[in-house]
């Protein structure tokens, strides 16, 4: 409750029945097909799921960065703004201000022909509406890079992206996210190139942003150690749909969907000494030939006859816990 006595809007982002279809030579690819979730204020929300299931596409559509070969349906509400209806120009005003995204592939967000300092300067220019002095850029830039554990901050500011290591590029992007200080930060696999000591620091840094700036974040990660430390709730995606959603600890201790259960079993532990890793048989189906019924049926260890015919829908099975599986029919 705020001071006015009204209930404040408790979410910052609401995604409703989002669909993203790509037109390709081989036919239509339904990369995201009816995804709904919301992110609360100050919440860190995780998106996980098999490679190719539509996580990055979901994030790209929130940023409205998909190109013309795709069609977007559904609603994306950022506060009271309906982003699906926004023009490129309106979006540009949000990017780097209310919204910022750290991409999975560094070369999507870093400009290869610009030095790091110029890219950081660009962010400040956009945010503050005027260009900063060179000395200020260097000072602010160094401060940002040191926060993400980059040594030699002055030399890195003067380098081009291709002269940096994979993990340095990743951290430069995170530093740019810090400079932006958005209301909602989207991070697509932000720590894949960081060794465990640096990853540890970055995880603490991201948690600090939530506390210090009340920043909400959407974190796409396949590293459950990172999800465990960061995420309040997570959504598990499979072939363009959310199959389970709930608090991280709920999914860890009481996963309901057979896919979620399988996923947690595949995690390698620190002490494993086996010669063979636990897997889930099979892979994601081809998005060109999706089966009727549940997309996971072919790989499911507890498949029922109905699963082959009918697509299950999300039902509530506990507090903030939703599952789309015929084993849990309302």
């Amino acid at each position: 409750m705020d001071q006015m006595g009204k209930t404040p809007m408790e979410w910052i982002l609401k995604v409703e029945d989002l669909k993203v279809y790509f037109n390709t030579l081989g036919g239509v690819v339904k990369a995201v097909d009816g995804v709904s979730f919301n992110v609360k204020k100050e919440e860190l929300f995780g998106l996980v799921g098999e490679s190719g299931c539509g996580k990055s596409t979901t994030a790209f559509s929130i940023m409205r960065l998909l190109d013309d070969t795709s069609i977007l349906y559904g609603k994306i509400l950022l506060g009271d703004k309906e982003l699906v209806k926004f023009s490129k120009r309106q979006m540009r005003r949000l990017w780097g201000n209310k919204l910022y995204m750290i991409f999975q592939d560094p070369m999507t967000s870093l400009n290869p022909v610009m030095r790091v300092k110029d890219q950081i300067a660009e962010i400040f220019r956009r945010k503050e509406g005027r260009a900063l002095k060179v000395n200020d850029i260097i000072e602010k830039g160094c401060n940002l890079l040191e926060q993400v554990e980059i040594p030699d901050s002055v030399r890195v500011l003067n380098q081009y992206p291709h002269q940096l290591s994979g993990g340095m590029k990743q951290r430069v992007m995170i530093a740019m996210g810090l400079a932006t200080n958005p209301d909602l930060l989207l991070l697509d696999e932000p720590t894949t190139a960081l060794d465990s000591t640096v990853q540890f620091k970055i995880v603490e840094l991201l948690l600090g942003l939530k506390k210090k700036y009340r920043m909400s974040q959407i974190i796409i990660t396949h590293d459950f150690g990172v999800a465990a430390k960061l995420c309040d709730r997570i959504a598990v995606m499979y072939a363009g749909k959310i199959v389970e959603q709930g608090k991280y600890v709920t999914l860890l201790h009481e996963p309901a969907h057979p896919y979620t259960k399988g996923l947690f079993k595949c995690i390698i532990t620190k002490d494993q000494e086996k010669d063979y890793l636990e897997t889930m048989k099979g892979y994601l189906p081809s998005l060109y030939e999706l089966p009727s019924g549940c997309y996971f049926a072919d790989r499911c260890p507890v498949v029922l006859p109905i699963c082959r015919n009918e697509m299950p829908v999300l039902v509530e099975v506990g507090s903030e816990h939703f599952v789309a599986c015929h084993l849990f029919r309302s």
Binding site: V29, S51, D105, D152, G167, M168, A193, I268, Y283
Partner: protein
């Protein structure tokens, strides 16, 4: 004793850094000391895991081993022959077929306008003369191994997800059945279930094809699964080298200990503490000071660490550490 398949001898790599025309004019060219005196052997059939702080020179070392980049000093030998001394086109082509690299950033190594089929047929067309049918069969087989669909072969490589691109890069490197690969973070974009399947596949290749590998990864759990030996690098120097078992059970360098203690657990109820590493600013690669490369982050430094640089010395057979305290 067995002679090594790959021999890395006294390797240095320094990148010149010009901050601007004035510095260059004043002759004040600094260098980024990415690698400093690396000596390492990789034996036939062995997988050597390479771990270390982000930016410490792992990818640089991988590229030099492949002969894509030239070292400032030192050299690399493949089966006793220096790769920088190969002259004839024939020799170079032959070695190219036997050693392959999976690059760290798959998205930027695939041409986004080529179809999946074109990407995968390229290596075959350079080295073999296959009929269309044979080629399609090979490609189908490769795709199946990593969970991609033959139906996707007409898709442009830019139209795949990052984890799919990574798998494409991996099968392209494996398509010619190389004897040795440098795999630079080859599974970093994969979720745990696909990752487990790909790791099992790589394990199988190790066993059945006796694939030799330089395996670079920041994920110690994966490194443990695939590697026979592990080299830990810090600031361009090897600080610890030993069998996988010894590195995990008896890590002796404070940096290795820090790495192992920083692995995050999947249960948030179990609190992790990153101990053993100081929160100080890491050292600069531009002017590496005298003494140990790890001194700023180390809790057990003594006077000697600030003056002398510890050499890698053998503690027990096959286990070497560069630290005065161990």
């Amino acid at each position: 004793m067995l002679s090594p398949f790959i021999e890395i001898v006294n390797l240095n790599k320094h990148y010149p850094l010009s901050l601007g025309i004035i510095d260059r004019f004043a002759g004040d060219v600094k260098t980024i000391k990415a690698l400093n005196g690396i000596n390492l052997n990789i034996f036939k059939g062995e997988t050597l895991g390479l771990v270390g702080e982000s930016g410490c020179g792992k990818s640089t070392l991988g590229r030099i081993v492949m002969g894509i980049e030239t070292p400032t000093e030192g050299f690399v030998k493949v089966e006793g022959k220096r790769i920088d001394e190969l002259k004839s086109k024939h020799e170079i082509k032959a070695i190219r077929k036997r050693i392959q690299m999976v690059f760290q950033n798959p998205a930027s190594t695939l041409d986004p306008r080529m179809t999946l089929h074109q990407v995968l047929s390229e290596p075959f067309s350079i080295h073999y003369n296959l009929t269309r049918n044979e080629l399609d069969k090979r490609i189908e087989g490769l795709l199946e191994k990593v969970g991609l669909h033959y139906g996707d072969r007409k898709k442009l490589s830019g139209e795949f997800s990052d984890g799919q691109k990574q798998r494409i890069a991996l099968i392209r490197a494996l398509s010619l059945e190389p004897e040795f690969i440098v795999a630079d973070e080859p599974v970093s974009a994969l979720d745990v279930s696909v990752q487990a399947q790909i790791l099992n596949l790589m394990k199988q290749l190790q066993k059945e094809m006796h694939l030799t590998m330089l395996f670079i990864s920041h994920d110690l759990k994966i490194v443990r699964f695939l590697s026979d030996r592990i080299a830990v690098i810090y600031l361009g120097k090897i600080v610890e080298l030993g069998s996988t078992e010894v590195i995990f059970k008896n890590p002796c360098h404070p940096y290795t200990q820090g790495l192992l203690s920083s692995i995050l657990d999947i249960d948030p109820g179990l609190t992790n503490h990153q101990f053993r590493i100081k929160a100080d600013v890491p050292l600069s690669q531009l002017n590496i000071p005298e003494g140990c490369v790890f001194q700023m982050k180390c809790y057990s430094t003594n006077d000697r660490c600030k003056k002398e640089s510890p050499e890698l010395r053998e503690l027990t057979r096959g286990h070497s550490v560069a630290c005065f305290e161990s």
